[in-house]
Amino acid sequence: MQRREFLKLSGTMLATAAAGPTLLSGCSQKRLPGSGQVTTSPTICNICFWKCAGVVYQEDGKPWKIVGNQQDLHSGGRLCTRGTGGIGAYQDADRLQTPMLRVSNKDGQYFRKASWDEALDYIAQRMRSIEQKHGNDRLALLSHGSGGDFFQTLLQGFGSYIYGHPSYAQCRGPREVGFALTYGEEVGSIDRTDMENSRCIVLIGSHIGENLHNGQVQTLSEAINKDATLITVDPRFSVAASKSKHWLPIKPGTDMALLLAWINVLINEGLYDRDYVARYTQGLEALTEHVQPFNPEWAYLETGLDPELIRTTAREMARNAPATLVHPGRHVTWYGDDTQRSRAIAILNALLGSWGCEGGFYIPEKVKLPEYPIPKPPPAKSDWKKIIQPEFPLSPSGISQSILAACSGDNAHIKGLFVYATNLPHTIPNSIDMIKQAAQDLDLMVVIDTMPAEITGYADVILPECTYLERYDEIRNVAERQPSLALRMPAFEPRYQSKPAWWIAQQLAKRLELEQYFPYQDYAEVIDWQLRQVDSSLTEMKTLGVKNFERKTAMYFREGEQIRFRTPSGKIELYSKTLEDNGYDPLPKYTPPQQPPNKFYHLNYGRAPAHTFGRTSNNPLLFELMPENAVWINPLVAKDWQINNGEYLRLQNPEGTLSNRVRVRITERIRPDSVFIVHGFGHTSKSLRLANGVGASDALLMSRVLVDPIMGGTGMRGNFVTFVRES
C-alpha cells in the first residue's frame, strides 16, 4: 500500500471510529485485502485430477484464497476456475462431519453418528467375517481420487486386488487401449499432447475449454496465439469450435466415418508421411485396401459434412504434419466402438507422423522417485479379472460396472466394497438399480467421501474424509513435458471429525494386523523419506511447493532414430494382429448409429469450466458461479415445440425416465437433431443443500448404454430424449 493511501485509510478509520460502533462495523469491508497477517502454504489442487500446484493464503488465520504456484510448469503457474474456488470445498457447510453407521429398527433403516473407533471396529469385524466365510480376496475398491491408493494398499495387504476407477470405463479407457494397441503405450494422464508447438490441432468431440484441464487449455491457448489451425468436429458449436478455422458440425455418432474418410484422403492423395510410415509402422497395405470404399462422398452421406470440407481439412492436416495433432480426446466412451475409434485416431496420427514429434505427441518423463519401502502384499488367491470381466481379456484395468455387477446375486464374487471419492450413481450411467442391488447383497459397503453425495445413502458405513486442504497426500510425480515434484500439505486443521485417507486406511490396518503396510506415525514421514532420496526434503518442499527437475531423456524421436515400440511387432500397428487374434476387427470399421425416434433428440452432454462432474455442484463458490445446467435447444426445435427461452421443462428418455426440471437455453450453437446439457447436475441428496434438485442429470437418462466389446467402456452418447412440458 502506498503511503498516501494508507494515510487516507487511517483517516477513514478515525472518522468511522468517531461515528460510533455501528458505523465502524458498517464499513468493515473497507480494509484492503492482504493488509492483515498473511501466511501461505503449498498445496496440489484436488478439485479435478490435473493436480496443479497452488499456494493457500490465510489472512489473520482465516482462509483467504488459493492461487497458482508460479514455479509450477505443470499448471503454468495458474489455477483454473475450480482450483481458484477450491476454498469452497473446505468451507462447504454440507460436508460430512462424523462417521455414520447404518442401523435398523422396527421403522426401517437410518444412519446414526458414530465415533471413529466404533466405525472402524465395525468395518474390521465385517472384513474378518467376509474373510472367514468367503476368503480374503472378496473385497473390491472403486476409487476416483488421490487418497484411493491408501485403500488399495490396505485391501491388497488383506489379499483383495479387485480395483476399478471410473476414469477408465467411463472416460479415458478406450483411448488408452486403442493407443496401446497401436503404439504399445497409452496416452496417459496428463495427456502427452504437444499442443503448444502444434501447427494444426484436430479436436473430435473434445471440448477443451469447457472441459477445463488446465494444461490442455493453456497449451491450446498458446497454439491459438501462435496462429495454429484448429479443426473442430462437434455436433455443437463448442467453445473450441468458436476458436476454429474449420468447424465440422457432424451428425452425432458418425465420427468414425469421417476418420476413415480422412485416412482415405491421406493415403489416396499420397499425403501421409512416407518416411515415418515406412520406418515405424506396419499394416499400411491392409489399411489402404480397407479404406478404399470410404471416400469423402461416402462419408458425406453418413456425417452430413461437405466432401470438399473433408478433403480440405485432410490436406490442411497433411500440410502441417508432423506438427499436426489429431487429439485423442479424454472422455471417449461414446458409442461402444470407442476403442476402434481411438485406433482410427491413432492411425491417423501415425500417417501424419505426429507420435513422438514436435507439435504432435511428446515423450513424457517423470522423476525417478523411490517408493517408501513396505512389504509385498500376499499373492492373489484368484485371478479376479477372469472372474469379474472374462469377456474383456484385453482390458488392462478393472471395469467399474463389471465390479459393481459382481457385487450382486447369491453367488456374487464381491462381498465387501469400498467406494472412495466417486459418486457412482452420477458416474456410471444407468447404474441406480445395480447400486441398489449391490447395497442389498453386499456384506459390507464403505463409502469414504468429503460430501454427502448420493452414493453415501447406500453405504453401511460412511467415513468423512477431510478435503485436500487439510491433509498430506502422495507427492505429485507425473510423467510429462517437464519432470517435477509437488507437495500437498495441510493448510488448515481438518474441520469437524474428518480425517485424511492415509489415517483412515492405517487405522483399519491396525485393526486387521496389517500395520506393516503403514509403517509410519504420520504420512509426512513418507514424503520426507522419498524427498530425501532425490536431494530434497519436506522442509524444503514446504517452502517451495514445487521442485522442477531436468529432463534426462529426449522429448521427441530423433531424426531417423530407430525405435522399438512396445507392441508385439515392435512397430506402430496400423493393423492390429492382437485384435484379430482375439476375434475383433483388426482395422476400424464404421457402424451407422441408431437414429432417434420421432420427436426425440440426441442427448449430448459435456462439461462446464465451473464444475468437475457432480463433485463441485455444492461448492458454494462454484455453485454461485454456475448454479444450474440448462438444456440447449436449437431455435427451430423450440419453435416446433413452442418452447420459450428460460422456461423449465423435463427431459424424458424412450423408457419414460424423467429428469428434474431443467431450464431451457435456446441457442444456435446446437444442431436441430440434438440437445445438450452439462454433466454433473440433478443431485437428489437432500444433504447437498445447494445442489439438491437443481438441473437435469444426464447419467439418469442414459438407458441405452453401448458397451465397448474390447475394453468394456460404457458408451453414453447413443441416448435420446424428448421434452415434457411443465403443466
Binding site: 461515528a19 455501528t22 458505523l23 458498517g26 457447510a93 454440507d94 465451473a610 458454494p620 455453485f623 454461485e624 458461479l625 454456475m626 448454479p627 444450474e628 440448462a630 431455435p635 427461452n645 428460460g646 431450464r663 437455453r665 435456446i666 441457442t667 444456435e668 443443500r689 445447494l690 437443481v694
Partner: protein
C-alpha cells in the same frame, strides 16, 4: 440472431436483472419537490402581483404548505438512502459536476426562504396559528420583519422555486447512462408539471370562485405546455442514437406504452384538461374536483413513469442464463 447472455451468475442488488435503484421514494420526492417549487412561485407571484383579492389563498395561505410538502419529500428521499448514517456527507462538500450535490445545497437555500415566505404571510393567512406562535418569545418581531420584507422574500422565492423544479429534472437528465432521461427537456417539463400540480393544489384548497377560475385557466395553459414539452421530449428521443431509439421504443409500443399513454398522459393530462376546460366554460359538474385530483395523480405518475422507464432504458442489457433465485440457497 444475436444471443448475448451472462454465463456467470450475477445478482447485484437493484442492478440485476434490470436497474431498480429508485422506486416510489424518489418519485414522491421529485413530485413533491416540483410541487413545492410551484407553490413557492405562485405564492410569490400572488404577492408581487398584488392578487390578494382575486387569489386570497395563493396570496396568504399557500406559502405555509410549501415547507410541509417539501419536508415530506425530504423524508422519502432520506428513506431511499442505503447508507443513511452518512447522510451528513452531502453537506461536507460541493461537487460541481454532480446535480445531486447542487440539489442538496439548493434545498438548504430553499428551506429558509420557504419558511420566510410562511412567516411573511402567516398573520394574513392563518391568524389563529400566528397568535399561537406569538406566545413564544421573539416570534412577533420575526413576523414583523418578515412582513416588512414580504416583497423581497417573494422576489427571492421565484428563482429558487424555478431552480428547485428544474433541478429535479436535471437530476435525471444528467445521467447519460440512461438514454430515456438524457434530455434537457426534463428540466422545463418538471418545472411546468410542478407549477401545474401547485395550481391543482390551489384549486382543491381555495374556496374563492374567482381564484378557482383563475387557477383553472392557468392550469389549462400549463397542461398544454406540458403536452408540448412531452411532444418535444419524444421528438428528441426518436431522433437520437440507437440507445435513445431503444429507450423511446419502451413507450412507443414497448412494455411501458400503456403506463405512459394510458395512465400518465390520458388520465393525468388529457382528462383533467377536459374537466378544467368544462369548468372554465361554466359547467357545474360534480366532477370538477376530480380535475385537480387527476392533475396531482398525473404529476406523480410523470415521475413514476420517468423513474421506471428510465431505469430500464440502458446501454447494456444481458439476460442471465440462470435462475437467480437459486442463489438464495447460499444463505442455508
Amino acid at each position: 440472431m444475436i444471443e448475448e447472455i451472462l454465463i456467470t451468475a450475477r445478482d447485484n442488488a437493484k442492478v440485476d436483472p434490470y436497474l431498480n435503484i429508485w422506486t416510489w421514494e424518489i418519485s414522491i420526492y421529485l413530485f413533491l419537490g416540483g410541487m413545492t417549487a410551484g407553490m413557492m412561485i405562485f405564492a410569490a407571484w400572488a404577492v408581487l402581483a398584488k392578487k390578494d383579492d382575486l387569489a386570497p389563498f395563493a396570496s396568504n395561505k399557500l406559502a405555509l404548505w410549501a415547507p410541509i410538502v417539501l419536508s415530506i419529500g425530504m423524508t422519502t428521499l432520506f428513506l431511499d438512502l442505503e447508507h443513511k448514517l452518512y447522510v451528513w456527507r452531502f453537506y461536507t462538500t460541493l461537487q460541481v459536476t454532480s446535480p445531486m450535490s447542487w440539489g442538496s445545497w439548493i434545498l438548504i437555500l430553499v428551506y429558509p426562504v420557504a419558511i420566510l415566505q410562511v412567516l411573511s404571510t402567516l398573520r394574513a393567512g392563518y391568524p389563529k396559528l400566528a397568535q399561537l406562535a406569538e406566545r413564544l418569545p421573539l416570534v412577533t418581531p420575526v413576523l414583523d420583519i418578515s412582513e416588512s420584507q414580504k416583497r423581497r422574500i417573494a422576489l427571492a422565492s421565484i428563482p429558487l422555486g424555478i431552480g428547485l423544479a428544474i433541478y429535479t429534472g436535471i437530476l435525471l437528465s444528467a445521467f447519460s447512462a440512461r438514454p430515456f432521461w438524457n434530455t434537457g427537456i426534463l428540466g422545463p417539463l418538471f418545472l411546468v408539471s410542478g407549477l401545474s400540480t401547485a395550481a391543482a393544489f390551489v384549486l382543491l384548497a381555495t374556496r374563492a370562485h374567482a381564484e378557482k377560475l383563475l387557477f383553472a385557466r392557468i392550469d389549462i395553459g400549463l397542461i398544454l405546455v406540458e403536452m408540448l414539452l412531452i411532444a418535444l421530449f419524444i421528438v428528441n428521443l426518436t431522433t437520437g442514437s440507437e440507445a435513445h431509439l431503444n429507450a423511446a421504443r419502451l413507450i412507443l409500443g414497448g412494455e411501458f406504452t400503456l403506463l405512459f399513454w394510458g395512465w400518465f398522459f390520458t388520465l393525468g393530462l388529457v382528462i383533467p384538461l377536459l374537466i378544467e376546460i368544462l369548468e372554465v366554460r361554466g359547467s357545474r359538474l360534480a366532477l370538477v374536483t376530480l380535475g385537480p385530483v387527476l392533475v396531482l395523480v398525473g404529476g406523480y405518475l410523470l415521475r413514476q413513469v420517468m423513474m421506471d422507464v428510465g431505469q430500464v432504458s440502458t446501454w447494456t442489457q444481458y439476460e442471465s442464463q440462470y435462475d437467480m433465485q437459486l442463489l438464495q440457497r447460499l444463505e442455508r
